[in-house]
């Protein structure tokens, strides 16, 4: 069963989507919301696998909601006519449905969502939710948006109240800013994948290319994209513990 939440400010629009989803027995609707505050509560309460998200809503857009979430479920956007808003997604494949929603398109979008759900539910990846590396976060920096799997993120770097997120997208390294402190991020990142290298950086262990000693007795890590990160002596000891495991 895929557990889904419907988020749309119009009652009739929600009713219509519910009616259409009734034909898909693998989807269970666990919540409904008419604005992004309600939506956040519903998502926190039900931990859905999938959300249907209207782009334009009173009090905040669908994007505002996603930015607030610590992790994002699979998202299918529903929109009447927002070509402009959806252009923000340049790289990430994302699903959106135009209202009125065609049953065929809905079925295709659900197929994809179910496919992703099955992968995430496979025993290999199955683990406690807040630590899953296939989890995605939503980043909106200016006009551009990304859904990024935690597993694809190489490095978080502190910039005041923001964190710069380094990840590979195609051949380019993207480095947008997100409104999260490094401490907030550290709390919810999986310790077996992400290592707090110093005050300013959290590094993804899977992206470490080379490690060597520094003159001050610490360690210098080189990431696969040639970013160099220095570890203090204390952190270096921790790092050795982790990497020897």
């Amino acid at each position: 069963m895929i557990r889904a939440v419907i988020i749309d400010d119009e009652r009739l629009a929600r009713a219509e989507l519910k009616r259409m989803l009734a034909a898909h027995i693998e989807i269970e609707i666990v919540g409904e919301a008419a604005n992004i505050d309600e939506a956040q509560r519903a998502i926190d309460a039900t931990n859905p696998d999938l959300i249907f998200l209207d782009v334009q809503m009173p009090g905040g857009s669908g994007f505002d909601l996603l930015e607030r979430l610590d992790w994002v479920p699979n998202v299918i956007f529903t929109t009447a006519f927002d070509a402009y808003a959806l252009k923000a997604f340049e790289v990430n494949a994302l699903d959106y449905l135009h209202k009125p929603i065609e049953p065929k398109r809905l079925a295709a979008a659900l197929d994809r969502a179910i496919g992703q759900y099955k992968i995430s539910q496979s025993p290999v990846l199955q683990s406690q939710r807040p630590k899953r590396a296939d989890e995605k976060i939503f980043i909106k920096d200016g006009e551009r948006c990304w859904f990024v799997a935690l597993a694809d993120i190489m490095l978080f770097e502190s910039e005041g109240n923001y964190a710069r997120v380094y990840f590979q997208s195609g051949l380019q390294t993207q480095r947008p800013l997100m409104l999260r402190s490094l401490n907030q991020l550290e709390e919810r990142l999986d310790k077996s994948h992400f290592f707090r290298a110093n005050r300013r950086q959290i590094v993804n262990l899977n992206f470490i290319g080379d490690v060597g000693p520094t003159e001050s007795g610490g360690l210098a890590i080189t990431l696969q994209n040639d970013l160099r990160i220095e570890l203090s002596r204390r952190r270096a000891a921790e790092f050795k513990d982790i990497s020897s495991l």
């Binding site: 009616r19 334009q56 009173p58 006519f81």
Partner: protein, 374 residues
Amino acid sequence: MARQSLNERVTNEMNVIIPDLQTLSGQNRNYWICQFAGWGSVAAFFTWVFGSMMPAGYVTMGVIYSWGAFTGIVLSHGWRLLLKRRRWFSRNSRPPWLGIAAMILLLGTLQALLVGLGFFVLRPPGMGANNWDWLPSAIGGWVMIFAVWTSLYSYTISSRRRRHLEAEALRLELYAKDAELRALQAQVNPHFFFNSLNSVRALIFENQHAAAQMIDQLAGIMRYTLQSNENATVSLAREMEAVNAYLAIEKLRFEDRLTASIDIETGLAEVLIPPMAVQTLVENAVKYGVERNHAGSEIRITAKRMAGHIEIEVANQGAITQAATAKESTQLGLENARKRLAIMTDAKADLQLSESDGWVRAVITLPEKKGAAR
């Protein structure tokens, strides 16, 4: 004012300025009148001057200078044909003054020799000198005359060209205005249209009668919007029909979040406004007052007669949001409505957006005269 009439106006104003093809022959006739009058005067002048001075008398001089007028007309007409073919005065670049001066010198010399031939043939008494002493002063005189001829000709040509350019500029301006008006005509708001279709589909399963009614209203709005491009003005009553249908549909979408009240003072039903002017403001009010706000908003539409003008007000609860509006279509819609009002009333109408006591008010002010159109 039917929209065709703008085109008619363009044509009318052009006719005042640009003589059409028929008057081209008029131009030619004027040319010949000037030629004969000019050279005739020259001949008359010389006949009078030399006839009174010389013993030969007026008759002989008259004959010689009639001949001179004839050769002058022939030479200057040839000169005109050359000027026309080379377009020395009618193109945009500077005329080749040196070539023109040389031609004037040549024409003056030829004319002096031809008139001299007349003297040689008739040999008037007292002027039978067999030397060429007379030639330089004769050439000088005729060169002067051809120079005057040429400058009159170039002045005529260039002033005619200037009139053409002015007319052309005016024509372009009017066409630009027309095109602008066309571009400003309201279009179906796609966001509204698709959301409405979505609501209708939901309604079909909930309440078939309401769904049928909604389709009627939607069709009404579509038709009204599409037809609005055909007329430059529409009565307030007709516009309000569309506004009512629109509000009924939005009421189905937004339910309790939208309430509307309409108060049109009696006697204002036939006031003429640009089509979609009020509708655009109501769409704006719904977008910013209702759609962006959980609690929704009341929308108040009022039209009343004030001292010397008519005010149509569309108000919604909320605040003017300045940020992020530049790109949005309704902001453009507002700007368009303003421009259409200005074009329709020669800038005598006004559209103002203001905020007070938690209400955003958009007010159209129209001159009192019914159908403020020109």
